[in-house]
Amino acid sequence: MKNAFTPEMWLSVVPEIGLLILAVLLLILDMIWLKKAAERAKWLGWITSVGVLLIMGGAMLWAFPHQNSLEWGGMLRFDAAGFIFRMIFMSGAVLTSLFASQFEILKNRGEFYVLLLVSTLGMNLMASAADLILLFLAIETTSIPLYVMAGFLTRDERSVEAGIKYFLFGAVTSAVMLYGFSLIYGFTGTTQLYELRAAFQAGNLPPALAALVVLLVLVGFGFKISAAPFHFWAPDVYQGAPTPVAGFLSTASKAAGFAVVLRFLQVAFSDQSGWWSILIALLSVASMIIGNYLALAQRSTKRLLAYSSIAQAGYMLIGVAAGSELGTTAVVYYLMAYLVTNLAAFGIVNLVENRVGTDEINAMAGLNRKSAGLALAMLAAMLSLGGIPPFAGFFAKLLVFAAAVERGMIWLVLVGILNAVVGLYYYLNVLKVIYLYPPVEEKEIVAARPAWRIALLVCVAGILLIGFWLVPWYSLAQAATNAIWIY
């Protein structure tokens, strides 16, 4: 192989190398320097987040892909899409590690932060994988730490159940997906995403079989993005897992799933877009309806957010189903908006849960009287999820609907807007509890830690900025779209 080591090759994995070094460093620190639990609780979250921030900064300065190229023998694609998605995942990791330092059991456990970093590393690879083998490995690298993180509270039955349930669902769906991959390889003789299209065009894969393959693969992807009908794990896992983990699962992990869906469908199967568009639209409708209608009946905030996240996946899938550049841009924008929004919501639930001792919606009663700022933050998060300006979710929803209108999929938009109305109902109900009902008694006086406060502040600032300062975020989303669409 000529030019075995080009600079781009190394630049393309700068963030991953950084994350790996940080993870190892953290393990060493955890064992050697930070002996006392209190010390670890104080520093681990900060070290992780600042470390990841430095990696992000470094990558932005030195490792920004100025042109698209395939690296590592076609394993990785070094492009803006991968880069921007990495930034999304790593921002999620930064915020999650800050939020986690408010969580009693996680905050002094070095291995938790290491798992978080490894999982983020896997997501990074998912976003830039250009080969089925690497894609599968990346998905597993992402998922296995997440299984452990979901079941991290070994003394809490629900957490253990969450871990096992997540693992079993993940294992089965990965197996189905892998079967799809093997069919692809068997018929085309290649695992390289960018070569697959040519192979399909040559007619190596009969149409009926192509349909089957996409269906099998979508099972795996659908699991990652928690789209119906592959959503069954989500409510139990979100409720049982430590709250910061649930937040991470619902945002970064979902974003990773979408990164793969967008690239895979657009690159390998762009010629078959006619019918996978319908398939995705059906998934979207199912997710929106199931997510929204089941959310109506929830009493636990975390379960509510779980069903809401299924519904949100449905809205994002509208953008995927549109199969247009605007659609892809809309999904990326939506993911950025959703990241800050949902992390803020889970962060607040985390604190309220600590204080009141339950994650029921009623635990938030009277939050406005107790701490007006927290109530406002929750207001921003809920309205952003509901798609109300000036919060981020408004423009994101508008973009996905616009993408579908552009393609003439009016029926899908109508289903979407009716669901948005249903969604607004339960988001407003949460606000009603916060603003109207008399305060509930707090069992424990838990002070919000500085790390937690900063993370929440960043999230709320993000919700507002993505909501009305549109140009920078839209440009990023567009850059990612161009990288996926032009090859």
């Binding site: 109300i388 000036p390 616009a402 938009v413 807007i417 109305v421 607004l424 407003l428 109207l436 140009v471």
Partner: protein, 491 residues
């Protein structure tokens, strides 16, 4: 570049709202003062706009334009014309009055006045927007203040139901309109949300006919169009006084205004095609609303349904698509806004003192609160279109317009006004005259000075307009002419 006065107008309430939220909750007196100061600034700015609009030049003035998201053709584009300027003034009046009548809100005034300011920013923004995206942005901005203010400070028995119903109805309406708007955006092929550019897009006939109902109906739901009107009485009754005033007085005009500006101005041929259907529904609004208002036993519901009835006249005026009808509709938007704000203010004053709104258990209140009684009677005279009051000069052109288009509509709608007269007289007699119940005799006192100021201000506006309709028509006339020009210059 001139001073960005519209931006100042819109951002005064937004910044005030944020400042209020940052103030300590215990400083209730200061919170009220800040809110009042902001409301005064808004009123003064809107008056300034009213007086400095150059009628001779017409068209959109005080225009500000900046790129917002150029990739999608979204701009920050503001401007007012003869149609929107009276509504800006109306909003200024009602926000000012709303702050004054809410002076005694004791439960979390900080949040109350802050949300009130956000609601004010939303309506002002819609009236001034010349970009469809901007218009939607401000339109939807109203969702959370509306909902939370009704639910938290509203009438305890119905606030959760009324607030949710109102919010969801209006959200459905706005998202339906959004689909239509997106279709307009892509259909035009211009890749811009700019209203002025889209006006010239020349959409094909089929396109206009298909999408007009989406956009018009979506917005008209907020205008209270039959059969999607039932949120209005329920929501307005459940809301606290200031919010009832703003919702019925200004928000319903936001709906009607957006229906005019987006649906009728962008899709004029669609409007012509669907006009008979709109006329039909709006006529039902007028008559049905009046009949239902007559049988209400709750004082506030009477006013709630009267709004449905009167907004019907606005929609009839729109659907005539002729000069008289449109002038009348624009006048009626202003006149009804002031009138219904006054009505709700008086209802609130009565309820605060008598602690009941059952018409049967009220009576003789003229002895206790003469100002309120006089204010309500003036409002009533406006409502039934008595000459010398703003109602006459705004309803009469609507009937003239309707007569040219469909005489039957005019006849039936005038019938609705007769019923209005009947229920207004009934309410006035039962609530303000006759025997005063013994317990009310003891407990009810007169209204406060601030309340009197509100009553005087709003009454004065209506009387002034009744004698000098040219105060508004001089603005509205050129605005209507430019809409008619879009219809192909039809008279």
């Amino acid at each position: 570049m001139q001073f960005p006065i519209l931006t100042t107008l819109i951002f005064t309430p937004i910044i005030t709202g944020i400042i209020l939220l940052l103030m300590p909750a215990e400083q209730k007196e200061w919170i009220r003062r800040v809110a009042l100061a902001a409301a005064s600034v808004i009123l003064l700015l809107s008056l300034f706009l009213y007086f400095s609009y150059d009628v001779g030049r017409g068209g959109y003035q005080f225009v500000e334009s900046a790129a917002w998201l150029p990739q999608l053709g979204i701009g920050y584009h503001l401007g007012v014309d003869g149609i929107s300027l009276p509504l800006v003034l109306l909003a200024g009046l009602v926000i000012f009055s709303g702050v004054l009548v809410s002076w005694n809100v004791e439960d979390r005034p900080r949040e109350f006045f802050s949300f009130l300011m956000f609601l004010g920013a939303s309506v002002l923004g819609v009236f001034c927007a010349l970009d469809l995206f901007l218009l939607f942005f401000f339109f939807e901005l109203a969702v959370f203040p509306k909902y939370l203010m009704i639910v938290v400070w509203g009438y305890p028995k119905t606030r959760e139901y009324g607030g949710m119903k109102l919010t969801l109805y209006l959200f459905i309406g706005s998202v339906i309109a959004l689909v239509g708007t997106l279709a307009i955006y892509f259909g035009s092929g211009l890749r811009t949300f700019d209203l002025l550019a889209l006006e010239q897009a020349g959409f094909p006939l089929e396109f206009q006919r298909l999408w007009f109902p989406f956009v018009f109906l979506g917005f008209a739901i907020l205008g209270g169009i039959f059969p999607f009107h039932s949120w209005a009485p329920d929501g307005h009754v459940a809301a606290p006084t200031a919010i009832s005033m703003l919702l019925a007085g200004v928000e319903m005009k936001v709906g009607a205004f957006a229906a005019l500006r987006v649906a009728i101005q962008l899709l004029p041929e669609g409007a012509q095609y669907w006009a008979p259907a709109v006329l039909f529904l709006a006529t039902i609004n007028v008559v049905y609303g009046a009949f239902i208002a007559m049988v209400q036993t709750d004082f506030k519901y009477v006013i709630g349904f009267s709004s449905v009835s009167h907004m019907g006249l606005v929609l009839i005026g729109f659907a005539t698509l002729n000069r008289d009808g449109l002038i009348g509709a624009s006048m009626q938007m202003f006149s009804h806004g002031v009138m219904t704000a006054l009505f709700f203010a008086v209802v609130g004053m009565v309820y605060d003192r008598a602690h009941t709104r059952e018409i049967g258990s009220l009576g003789g209140l003229v002895q206790k609160m003469p100002w309120a009684a006089v204010g309500f009677i003036i409002g009533g005279l406006v409502s039934m279109g008595m000459p010398g009051f703003s109602g006459f000069v705004s309803e009469f052109p609507v009937f003239m317009g309707a007569w040219q288009k469909a005489p039957l509509v005019a006849v039936v709608a005038i019938l609705g006004i007769l019923i209005t007269a009947a229920y207004i007289f009934l309410v006035v007699r039962r609530v303000f005259f006759g025997e005063i119940p013994a317990e009310l005799d003891k407990s009810v006192g007169d209204v406060s000075r601030k309340d009197k100021l509100v009553i005087a201000l709003l009454s004065l506006v209506m009387i002034l307009l009744g004698w000098f309709p040219s105060l508004l028509t001089r603005l509205i006339e050129p605005g209507v002419q430019s809409i008619l020009a879009l219809m192909g210059g039809g008279r």
